[in-house]
Symmetry: C2
Subunit: 134 residues, 2 copies
Amino acid sequence: MTQKQEQLSKNQQIVLNIIEKAKGPLKAYSILYNVQKRGIKAPLQVYRALEKLIEIGKIHKIESKNAFIACKNSDCEISKATAFSICNNCEHVKEIKNTKLSKYLSNFVDNSGMKYKKYNLEFFGLCKDCKLKQ
Amino acid sequence: MTQKQEQLSKNQQIVLNIIEKAKGPLKAYSILYNVQKRGIKAPLQVYRALEKLIEIGKIHKIESKNAFIACKNSDCEISKATAFSICNNCEHVKEIKNTKLSKYLSNFVDNSGMKYKKYNLEFFGLCKDCKLKQ
DNA sequence: ATAACAAACGTTATATTATAACAAATTAAG
DNA sequence: CTTAATTTGTTATAATATAACGTTTGTTAT
Ligand SMILES: [Zn+2]
Ligand SMILES: [Zn+2]
Ligand SMILES: [Zn+2]
Ligand SMILES: [Zn+2]
């Protein structure tokens, strides 16, 4: 088994599966509850898996919600540059994949001449469904 | 005293003072510790003041740090549109005041045609000091 | 294969961040 | 003054996250 490939460990795979199946972002303790039947018993096991999955870009943390979502954008392999759309009403979250935006932000230079390798952007508004229902 | 002006309550003023005096973002329980000599005894008193101060745009929450910083940008009165520069090394945080950036983001329309009233952007990199020391 | 190292695991305890619930006090308006 | 709204004080508890420690597993190089 000389798989040079990036191979996830058991717990990492379990946690990733749950997050990928979910419709929206999941909270750590909700993940814990969901994986207890698979042998994961303690918060730390979940948090360690989350940390690794974030590191390799498989998931992202939605900071304003303390929740975790699967990456839907193959380009952000190292979680460097993320942007999300968050509905204030139904809490629906979507990763924004927009080349212009990511280029704009990656090339952004602030007033002091500083450039940034990494950013996280969270947009808030009403999603289409919620806008109609208003 | 018919001050139509937005007037802060006692606790709100105490908390705001601490945050404005600080060099960087403060955490809620660090604020609590700092204001105990002024009569604020419980976390809730701090969190309630923080909530109000955020609402009126006097301070912002740095989501990736669970910390609070005074607004340095008179334009974001209602905390709608915020952008920060965060140093990965020394944790220095600075609010970004850049008209082009804020216009770009406020006018951003995603692939589904959705526009956003509110956003929070956190840039990560090395500040000038830390870049030199490398 | 086996020694040496790194990564992941399991477990318990604890730290940190944030809110619920309820009653009392203060302030703003009619 | 009366009423409503906001703010306060207080206790308890919920929710989120990490420390510390020892064990196991996986990788790499002899
Ligand atoms: Zn992504
Ligand atoms: Zn919605
Ligand atoms: Zn501001
Ligand atoms: Zn720095």
